[in-house]
Symmetry: C2
Subunit: 125 residues, 2 copies
């Protein structure tokens, strides 16, 4: 199987989402429900979870990080700002950005947050 020059240089895609003006406050403040969102993505797109870690801050806010076979996914919540910093970096080779757009749309729907454009970085060797 030949590998195109472009693919040979791509180590993966990294999607960075600043989820703003979140209206689903229940989800924003519930670590177990946040993990359900992350689990759903991993299950649907076949990302294999190696390890999960989480931390709940006082008086508010949480961090959840999934180490994946395909790299990592992270959530940092800032309830006082109705905001989540979401990252998904995978070393999967996809023909286009459609799966990332699907995941972004899913996040926007679940969190009822402002729809913007996520940042999508092509990481390269």
């Amino acid at each position: 199987m030949s590998i195109s020059y472009e693919n040979a240089l791509i180590s993966g895609r990294h999607m960075i989402c600043d989820l703003k003006q979140i209206e689903n406050i229940t989800l924003l403040n519930d670590v177990d429900k946040l993990k359900e969102v992350m689990d759903f993505i991993c299950d649907k797109y076949n990302y294999y979870i190696l390890q999960k870690i989480e931390h709940i801050f006082e008086p508010q806010g949480s961090t959840i990080i999934y180490m994946l076979s395909e790299s990592h996914m992270s959530i940092h919540t800032f309830p006082e700002k109705n905001y989540i910093a979401f990252d998904l970096y995978t070393c999967r080779s996809y023909p286009d950005n459609s799966i990332y757009n699907e995941i972004y749309d899913y996040l926007i729907t679940e969190f009822q947050s402002l729809k913007e454009e996520p940042i999508l970085i092509h990481r390269s060797f």
Copy 2:
């Protein structure tokens, strides 16, 4: 203390580095030494480490993720490509990018890798 409009919108800075053409092969392949690099950065810049996780892949490659009070730092190694994907996201408020540039220069020196420009993203609420 007044908070400037810009600072009020910044949730942190996220530095994304594709460390290429790494010549320090010993470091690239040694998880304990990689953690020493990460520990050095945390110690020097006062990032508080909440949890560390790591995974060694077969036949090669490793992932190390540090969950920080200030967000996270991650390394994914691809020894077959002499490459590391390095991320540092912190919610610290800095007056400029100088600390990130310092950290980038430190990484380039330690790994003896190609000097490029890291990607620096201002994440916003």
